[in-house]
């Protein structure tokens, strides 16, 4: 059998009381991520991609199905089982301001993680944790002076770098990145994407990359899953998936990607009544 860092099998999640909603948020979805691999999960809002990401990150227990991490079935029903799982998985969020406590300096936010996990990290001494903190900042390309600052004093891109540093603090083996760049300015998006890529190459942790932008997913990932209405409708290597989409929904998503070249072609075909 192929080796996976995480495998989600037949995951079903209902929000609210089962049966009240017409359909589950995630409906028998399965996916796998190999060690060191960046896998994309795409779909529109409401498709269940974030919910499935939360299940992979151990932040949400599925109603049905199992989460297998590194060959071990995660006890999603038990608090302890989820805690063990969460140590190995970290998340990077879309809303960079919401992901950080506004009343903690960046230094304090990073300290908190390292302190909570001091035993697992074998860092009982504050000095060790300070060293690790600086190492983390360096890894995400931030200057040490941000340690004293509060989240509101940083730009969105800088905050996302902090978010990534915090996620990396505990040496996760899987990173779940939920729309990590869609709230950022375009010129900064690529910086963060490249950072995630280089971190993946250097540290070798796997990444489940949740996004709605197919062009970004194609840039980041080797493989991708396409979700619609809670179900995974298509999966495969990005190149094949985007060159020759099989499912109509994938095609629809592809057509919707705004692209300069495509747009210029389209405008020439449109019967515009351009004056002057």
């Amino acid at each position: 059998m192929e080796k996976h860092i995480v495998a989600l099998r037949e995951i079903t999640v209902w929000y609210g009381q089962q049966g009240i909603k017409e359909r589950p948020a995630v409906d028998r979805a399965s996916l796998t991520v190999a060690p060191g691999e960046i896998v994309g999960l795409v779909g529109e809002s409401g498709s269940g991609k974030t919910t499935l990401g939360l299940v992979a990150a151990g932040m949400l227990a599925p109603d049905k199905g199992e989460v297998v991490f590194d060959g071990q079935v995660v006890q999603t029903g038990s608090r302890h089982g989820m805690q063990v799982h969460r140590r190995n998985v970290q998340m990077v969020f879309q809303d960079t301001a919401g992901a950080l406590n506004p009343r903690l300096t960046i230094g304090a936010a990073l300290d908190e993680v390292l302190y909570v996990h001091r035993q697992a990290l074998a860092m009982p001494l504050p000095a060790q944790r300070d060293a690790r903190r600086n190492e983390l900042l360096d890894a995400v390309g931030l200057a040490p002076d941000v340690l004293e600052r509060y989240p509101h004093a940083l730009s969105g891109g800088q905050r996302q770098r902090v978010g990534i540093a915090r996620a990396l603090a505990v040496h996760p083996r899987l990173l779940v990145a939920d729309e990590p760049v869609s709230a950022l300015d375009v010129s900064v998006q690529v910086q963060i994407l490249n950072l995630l890529k280089s971190v993946n190459e250097r540290l070798g942790q796997a990444c489940l990359f949740v996004a709605h932008d197919l062009a970004v997913v194609r840039y980041m990932c080797s493989r991708a899953y396409v979700m619609e209405a809670g179900q995974i409708v298509e999966a495969g290597a990005c190149e094949a998936l985007f060159r020759d989409p099989q499912h109509p929904y994938t095609r629809k998503l592809l057509e919707a990607v705004p692209d300069v070249e495509k747009g210029l072609k389209k405008r020439n075909m449109a019967p515009g009544i351009r004056v002057s």
């Binding site: 375009v186 705004p258 300069v260 070249e261």
Partner: protein, 323 residues
């Protein structure tokens, strides 16, 4: 209506919030029936510019606006409150980014839509239905008694567009109209806007940070950076042969669907947060071609040699063809 071909002419518009200048003297025009895109990243002053067109910015002391803004032949800055109200009613309509915030949550769609209309109840209702149908909404009669929260984001934005069309404006200002929506809906809403703009013969100012959207929808494009207009020209010229390194950078940072995967370099650094205007070109700190000249002398927006329609504010405009 006169015979003038320009619906909007902005001359040396400056906007400052509490002494902090955010728009530094920009000038541009929009012809009748033309779609102009205003492109830039957050904080570059594009929304502020759009609001200035209908004098929607707060007055002094919190905000100082200077320069000349002419819309439909009227000097917006000098209008009496009554004339200003009429201008806003008859000539300009806005579509904003967040449709949920643009609609009143506790009034029905029908009430909000009819509010701006004149005439008997029956004529207003008929016009409201017509607008909803124009905005591509099915079963408009049912929608009239619906509340905004029962609609999806895409439908809400269509309602907002219907409201914008109600008074048959000459100018539609769409400020990031698709940013809050899903990708597939995004394309639909943009197509709708472009179709309506052409069919109804409106002018449109489309504000966006997405050059892919600009390519399919606008006739001319203004690129803004840190409160300056840095490039201006026909969409095909600017997107195919960008002359400003920032415009080129914006084109290069977008992952593409066509062509093989390649590494994107991105633009180093970040958008200046305003406050300390640099003596030279605002983009110089992030520009790889910057020289001492760029850092000390601010380049003016001038026509490119050989390409009169394209203007660029750069000491060393890029020459090679691109895209």
């Amino acid at each position: 209506m006169g015979v003038e071909t320009e619906i909007v002419r902005v001359t040396e518009l400056q906007v400052a919030f509490g002494g902090l200048e955010v728009v530094h003297g920009i000038s541009f025009s929009i012809d009748t029936q033309e779609a102009v895109a205003l492109v830039g990243e957050s904080g570059c002053g594009k929304s502020v510019t759009a609001l200035a067109l209908a004098r929607l910015l707060p007055g002094p002391p919190s905000c100082q606006v200077e320069g000349v803004v002419q819309v439909a032949g009227q000097d917006v800055m000098d209008l009496s409150p009554e004339r200003l109200r009429r201008l806003r009613r008859d000539h300009i309509a806005y579509v904003f980014q967040d449709p949920a915030a643009a609609l009143h949550p506790s009034l029905t769609i029908g009430y909000q839509l009819c509010e701006a209309l004149a005439g008997s109840k029956a004529t207003r209702r008929a016009r409201a239905l017509e607008c909803l149908a124009l905005a591509g909404l099915r079963d408009p009669a049912d929608l009239l008694c619906a509340y905004p929260f029962t609609l999806s984001g895409g439908m809400q934005q269509r309602v907002v567009i219907a409201m914008a069309l109600a008074r048959e404006p000459q100018l539609l200002v769409a400020d990031e109209p698709t940013t809050a929506l899903d990708v597939t809906i995004q394309a639909q809403i943009l197509d709708l806007l472009v179709d309506l703009q052409r069919r109804l013969g409106m002018s449109m100012l489309l504000i966006t940070h997405n050059l892919g959207l600009v390519a399919s929808s606008a006739d001319r494009v203004c690129v803004m950076y840190a409160g300056y207009l840095i490039e201006f020209g026909a969409v095909e010229d600017v997107l195919r042969m960008p002359a400003h390194p920032y415009t080129r950078g914006l084109l290069d940072v977008v992952p593409r669907m066509e062509g093989g995967p390649r590494r994107l370099e991105g633009i180093p650094g970040m958008v200046p947060s305003g406050g300390d205007p640099l003596p030279g070109c605002a983009f110089a700190p992030r520009c790889r071609y910057a020289t001492d000249l760029c850092r000390t002398v601010r380049p003016a927006l001038v026509p490119l040699p050989g390409r009169q329609q394209q203007r660029v504010a750069c000491h060393y405009p890029l020459r090679e063809d691109k895209v």
